[in-house]
């Protein structure tokens, strides 16, 4: 999911905490106070991002056998310390939940069309992506 409103951790975690999933692993990405950075603006190619997130989710379920994968990514203006992304994987066993959660956030950062612009004391700058 892509959302321009604050991410509700309780809601996204709560939906994975069920009797059939003994292990839930969550990754929470937070806007970090890097030197000079005052905030972030996040932009997404929403339709393509949602398609890619769906593919990544299916891959994680097929590879690791987890029972649920939920992802929410923020867009818009974010302050330092705000939640920018949440990945939650539910599984009957913890090893697979950890692996799936790490896989999803790694692939999200590599593949999902989302960009960040940092507000710094010297002005704004786009965060450079790694891969092309």
């Amino acid at each position: 999911m892509i959302s321009d409103g604050e991410i509700d951790l309780v809601e996204i975690l709560g939906s994975s905490i069920k009797p059939d999933a003994g292990a839930v692993v969550a990754f929470v990405g937070v806007v970090r106070a890097d030197p000079g950075v005052m905030g972030l603006e996040v932009e997404a190619y929403e339709e393509a991002a949602l398609e890619e997130l769906r593919r990544i989710k299916e891959e994680a379920i097929a590879r690791f056998g987890v029972s649920s994968v939920d992802v929410v990514h923020r867009t818009g203006r974010l302050s330092l310390g705000e939640v920018i992304v949440v990945v939650v994987c539910g599984s009957s066993h913890r090893r697979e939940a950890f692996q799936a959660c790490e896989y999803v956030i790694d692939e999200l950062k590599r593949r999902v069309p989302i960009w960040k612009k940092e507000q710094t004391e010297e002005g704004e700058r786009w965060v450079r992506g790694d891969a092309c």
Binding site: Y45, A48, I105, L108, K109, V112, I114, W126, G129, C132
Partner: protein, 92 residues
């Protein structure tokens, strides 16, 4: 034919968020890019080096499928296609 252009991050700042361009039927991705560079001359420097070679710091999606560049510069366009231009992703 009408092509919807969408641009993100630095390319949005050059091209605007979204626009419709009219190009001749039978046009390929390369023709569209040339057309866009004519409308928005700033785009040329973002896509090509001074020697006229394609830079590798951007991606193009055609109807939300990523193109392999430079080979897919030859891909055919159709009426109502959506072409998106953006830099490497940096989400999360």
């Amino acid at each position: 034919m009408r092509i919807k252009i969408r641009a993100f991050a630095g390319f949005r700042e050059i091209l605007g968020k979204e626009m419709i361009v009219e190009i001749g039927s039978g046009s390929k991705v390369a023709d569209l890019i040339n057309h866009l560079c004519e409308i928005k001359p700033e785009l040329r420097g973002a896509l090509f080096s001074d020697a006229g070679e394609l830079r590798d710091y951007f991606m193009i999606m055609l109807n939300r499928r990523r193109l392999d560049l430079p080979e897919d510069l030859n891909a055919d366009l159709s009426d109502n296609d959506e072409v998106a231009i953006f830099p490497p992703v940096a989400g999360g």
